[in-house]
Amino acid sequence: MPKQSTRIDDLLASVTADLLDGDPQRFQDNSIRVERILLELVRPDPVQPRRVLPERIHFAFHQNRLTPTQALRELVQIVQVAARQRGRPFSSVLELLPRSDDDSEETPDVQLSPEEQLLRDLINLAVTIRDDGQVNPLSVVDVSQGVTRLYRIETGERRYWANWLLRDFIPGYDGDGMIPCIVVPSERSSVFRQAKENTARAGLSAIAMARQAALLLLAIHDYEIPDGPVSNDFYRQALELDLRGKREYTDVVLAAMGGVGKMRFSQIKSLLRLSDEALELADRHNLDERKLRPVLLLDPGVHAEIIRQIIDFKLTSKQVQELCEADETDQQESEEPNDIPTSALRIAKVAQAATAPSPHDVARALIKRTGDVDLARVRLRAIQKLLADAEQYLTE
């Protein structure tokens, strides 16, 4: 058999030598090229720090439980429910776009949920692609194996989803199901390149930045980056890692993160200490790192509740800091074993009082103590929840 394969080689070599005609580079082309690729052959990167779809859909899609069309249908359904609750039902996704003749849509008090905003942005992009064509190609890496052709998106996931929306949800599509892509040879692809592309663009959330930092740390410490979707615990492995052990990579990692300093890098990475629910909320609502930093001081069990309050009351980073420092004091007090915290005793005393204070006085007192109406409302809501929970204990 080896003899035979040598003979094939000899035969092919004679043809090839003739073909190359003294120019050995003639057929070699490792340049980055733009190609039109069938939409179905392109897939978003499951480990990409910047997540476009809500977490539940993101995981279902990357675990192949949803097709791209089904994933978008789920998103549309979420938005439909949210829109109906807000009294703005729609039957066609195009109705989400602001009408040029209707100024009321753009009034500042109309607050869109993150999902509504996401779908609206994607539809806007899809309509632009439909009307003007896709100007910027996606960048993809050829990850084909055998007969299975597959390209993994490096940048341009929003354009990918916009193309699916256009194809399956928006009338008037007359394309051929192809999408222009810059095909990056797999040997040129790296987490550093992807990080640079990500950080060079605006709108990367603090949580996405934290995931990005984690990916870079994991990569330089030779952790294997999986092909499928990963949980937050995968990124949290980076909490145990730092740049000190890999000084030769420090500059390139910080540059890939957009030129941040070591301290800032560490602050961003620390966000991964937030609980899963808090991470999802913070990512979805694009909360700033400075607002999230104080939350890390608290017990993970209350992270999500605090994040909700930050979102609901639009707290500033200063307000979040005050809120969290006060909560931290309460937590420290309650850590005394077999001892009822002073704050709890105070509430019990108020409950026992023969004459309850007037609501007006309570409101004034709260504002006086917190110095802020929003913070006062946060405190009041916390007490409401606390009293409800306490009543539950009594019932049990």
């Binding site: 035969l11 043809v15 057929f27 070699q28 082309d29 069938l38 040879p185």
Partner: protein
């Protein structure tokens, strides 16, 4: 643009499947040796007999869910993805992929008659994935059927294998006319006759020699001859062993002739791409 070679002749037994499979394998092997960044070649078998499928994949029992038939019956929008899903690896080379035929293709023609756009049911989805390959080679059935028209409409280059026998050469003009008809009538200007491939030539047979000389001296057909494959028992044995002629006997005359032909095709591809 990816070159799509179709091997066609309405006469049976002229070496269409043999040539299609060996050209496909030769292209991928030569491109790889030349260091091409993409040396993948797709072999599309449109002949319900599935001979090309059998020798390159080791089986010919593909059916309603995993063959060209599946592609032809698929929803128009889903067809490119269905086609990509139906492609299987060959046993000859990791970069030679096969879209297998199925005995069900026999009935497909009947099922598709009267269906709008039926002749484009291969060309349309194939055009969406062709750029994944350095070249595509289509084997057709021995008739001027809807399936053959589909192959021609999907192709950029037609190669006409022909045996050097009187009746075969007489029929040659009707094949060429058919190709021209598809190019003009179906407005498919990209289709060109890439060459006439003389197969099974036995120089000991006086008639073969005479007809070859006649063809070579013909003002038009002579220029179209792209290769001469000698009659060679090794081809049959290679089929029997499900091997390419290059793997079965690299030094036999047929191997050398196919290597010459493949070299010529690759040179054309390189010239067109330059």
């Amino acid at each position: 643009m990816t070159r799509v070679f179709v091997l066609t002749n309405h006469k049976g037994g002229v070496g269409k499947s043999t040539s299609a499979t060996n050209i496909a394998f030769g292209l991928t092997a030569v491109l790889r040796r030349a260091g091409a960044s993409n040396s993948r070649v797709l072999l599309v078998d449109t002949d319900s007999q599935g001979h090309a499928t059998l020798v390159t994949t080791g089986r010919n029992n593909y059916g309603a869910d995993d063959s060209l038939y599946t592609v032809l019956m698929a929803d128009r929008q889903a067809a490119p993805q269905v086609l990509a899903n139906c492609i299987v690896p060959s046993t000859w080379d990791e970069n030679l992929h096969v879209l297998p035929a199925s005995p069900m293709l026999e009935g497909a023609e009947r099922e598709l008659i009267g269906v709008a756009g039926a002749p484009y049911r291969l060309a349309d989805p194939l055009s969406r994935i062709a750029n994944q390959y350095a070249a595509v080679v289509i084997d057709t059935r021995p008739s001027f059927s809807l399936m053959t028209e589909m192959g021609l409409l999907a192709a950029t280059d037609a190669i006409v294998p022909v045996e050097p026998r009187y009746l075969e050469t007489v029929g040659l003009m009707s094949v060429i006319n058919k190709i021209n008809e598809v190019r003009e009538g179906w407005r498919h200007p990209n289709l060109r006759i890439s060459g006439i491939l003389i197969t099974k030539l036995d120089m000991r047979v006086r008639g073969h020699k005479h007809l070859l000389e006649e063809l070579q001296s013909h003002s038009i057909l002579g220029k179209l001859i792209c290769g001469v494959i000698p009659a060679n028992e090794a081809v049959s044995y290679a089929h029997h062993n499900h091997q390419s002629i290059f793997a079965y006997d690299p030094q036999c005359p047929a191997s050398k002739a196919y290597a010459q032909l493949v070299g010529q095709l690759v040179r054309q591809m390189a010239k067109a791409g330059a």
